[in-house]
């Protein structure tokens, strides 16, 4: 693998640590989508913070650390937005924030995967995200996509556990506009 060795040799001097970025709130979104009665709906969180360290050539030192204010979820439907913070769903009175932190990155073909741990509603579970990082001037854009099973975290349990009404899989997507720290 002489080519890989050369790449590593080139990368190593710069690999001391991945670059730290700050998220530019304008142009950055953290969204989710699911289905209700057979129809897709999209939601997003208005308030969240993310500490991003990333270097495509040094994934080992890269890290995402994200805090989400669950009370800031909006889906464009009054009934739903009223229900989401309640005890049946996010239960924000007891668990105001969700937290995601990466535990490692790996390369899957051309795709970078971030493995991490999502803590939501008092439950921690491994979650993997597809990472698309594009340097842009001195900053970058970062897109991630993944999927979680809402019932793994007890989101919409009890009466609401019927996945023929509320879909089991919640897609997570985020688009981050990053500036160098």
């Amino acid at each position: 693998m002489p080519r890989l060795a050369m790449l590593l040799a080139l990368a190593l001097p710069f690999a001391a640590s991945a670059a730290d970025y700050t998220v530019q709130p304008a142009g950055s979104t953290l969204g989710f989508s699911d289905t209700f009665q057979g129809e897709a709906f999209n939601g997003h969180f208005d308030r969240w913070t993310a500490a991003i360290s990333y270097d495509a050539a040094n994934l080992a030192s890269s890290k995402f650390d994200v805090d989400v204010d669950l009370a800031s979820a909006k889906t464009g439907d009054n009934d739903r937005d009223h229900a989401l913070p309640g005890t049946d769903f996010f239960d924000v009175a007891k668990f105001p924030k969700a937290h995601f932190v990466t535990t490692g990155f790996r390369q899957n073909g051309a795709q970078v995967i971030a493995d991490g741990k999502l803590t939501l509603r008092g439950v921690s579970r491994p979650v993997s995200l597809q990472v698309t990082f594009k340097p842009q001037g001195s900053g970058a854009t970062l897109d991630v996509a993944g999927s979680v099973k809402r019932l793994d975290f007890g989101v919409g349990g009890g009466d609401y556990a019927d996945t023929s009404v509320i879909g089991a899989d919640v897609k997570i997507t985020a688009h981050l506009q990053l500036a160098p720290r």
């Binding site: 009665q37 057979g38 129809e39 464009g76 439907d77 009054n78 009466d159 019927d162 009404v165």
Partner: protein, 192 residues
């Protein structure tokens, strides 16, 4: 009993449409008025889904019924004063319009409220209008008052049918009843 209507009585297809739609509308209307008895939000979601599915079925049935009625024809009108014949036509016309308008208004109410519309969890139907929270309350009123208005017209319809049955002793009700035998034709009273 034949599928098609003849000169004297309604066929079994026409009877089927008449009674199934009547039961579905009265049942679903009552069900709709009782929605607030649901003891959890999810139960209400499921009840509403059922109410909408039944309403969509009524809409489909009434469209089929109109097509059938147009192909099938109808028994000849019983002799009656001209004003009664016109009143019967008016009431029947109003009933057809209301039976179509009632589910359509529900569909519209559902659309402006921005809710999905699914038929018995099988497939989804598109919205009739864009989501508009300002219209939602009004659309709900239209949907509910159309039902009250339908009941009002129904009182005239049922009242007239019973009047024919009990006081006139004719076949107006019997020819639409399932499994009923017609009375012997009374002597023609002549054109009135």
């Amino acid at each position: 009993m034949s599928l098609r209507s003849n000169d004297r009585q309604w066929g079994s297809v026409a009877k089927f449409f008449h009674w199934v739609i009547a039961l579905a509308i009265l049942g679903n209307g009552t069900f709709g008025l009782l929605m607030d008895l649901a003891h959890s939000p999810m139960q209400k979601i499921n009840w509403l889904a059922l109410h909408k599915s039944i309403g969509l079925s009524v809409l489909a049935l009434v469209l089929l019924r109109v097509v059938w009625r147009w192909r099938d024809g109808r028994p000849r009108e019983e002799s009656a004063p001209r004003w009664q014949q016109w009143a019967a036509r008016g009431v029947h016309g109003a009933l057809y319009v209301l039976i179509v308008a009632l589910p359509l208004s529900g569909w519209w109410f559902n659309s402006v409220t921005g809710k999905p519309l699914q038929w018995f969890k099988q497939f989804n139907l598109p919205a009739l209008a864009a989501k508009n929270d300002d219209l939602s309350h009004f659309a709900h009123g239209v949907h509910e008052y159309l039902f009250w208005f339908l009941l009002l017209v129904l009182v005239a319809h049922v009242g007239a049918a019973l009047k024919h049955h009990v006081f006139d002793n004719d076949n107006v009700l019997r020819r639409m009843l399932p499994f009923s035998r017609l009375r012997d034709e009374p002597a023609q009273k002549g054109e009135s």
